[in-house]
């Protein structure tokens, strides 16, 4: 058993949140996205993760290539700096 701990991943739902924040704060989606990233303490890779990137990690972990990996947690968050 392994676990995957995603950070800010721009799913369809997350994108809708960004769009709502853009409207409510009077900025655009780029600004709203960066505002969210900043609220997380910043994401060193400069963007949210993509669902496909999480899927790649899952595909690896369930594959025979990861047969000897057990009891591990994989954080996939673009290097998100803890805000606390």
């Amino acid at each position: 058993m392994n676990t995957v701990a995603p950070g800010f991943i721009e799913t369809t739902a997350a994108h809708r949140l960004i769009a709502r924040l853009a409207v409510s704060s009077g900025t655009d989606e780029v600004g709203a996205r960066h505002g969210l990233m900043d609220s997380l303490g910043g994401i060193p890779i400069g963007r949210p993760g993509r669902p496909e990137e999480v899927a790649e990690l899952i595909a690896f972990l369930v594959s025979d290539r990861a047969a000897s990996i057990h009891g591990s947690e994989y954080v996939i968050d673009g290097g998100t700096v803890p805000a606390i």
Binding site: T12, A14, P48, E52, V54, V62
Partner: protein, 66 residues
């Protein structure tokens, strides 16, 4: 953020495997179902909302209520 992400993969890697992905019709779950199915797995998933148009051909759905 709209550019597609395509990674190379072995389309037979998961041949003969059966997987269950909960919450697999949207977001990360959908990406996981699609990735494992693309790798040859038979993927089943659960959802709290109906499938979107265009999903049914690739995904087997187990519907759950609530």
């Amino acid at each position: 953020m709209s550019e597609a992400t395509h990674f190379s993969f072995d389309p037979t890697e998961f041949a003969g495997k059966r997987v269950l992905v909960t919450g697999g019709t949207k977001g990360m779950g959908e990406a996981i179902v699609r990735r494992l199915a693309a790798g040859g797995a038979t993927a089943a998933t659960t959802a709290r909302s109906p499938a979107s148009e265009g999903q049914a051909a690739e995904l087997f759905f187990l519907s759950v209520s609530g």
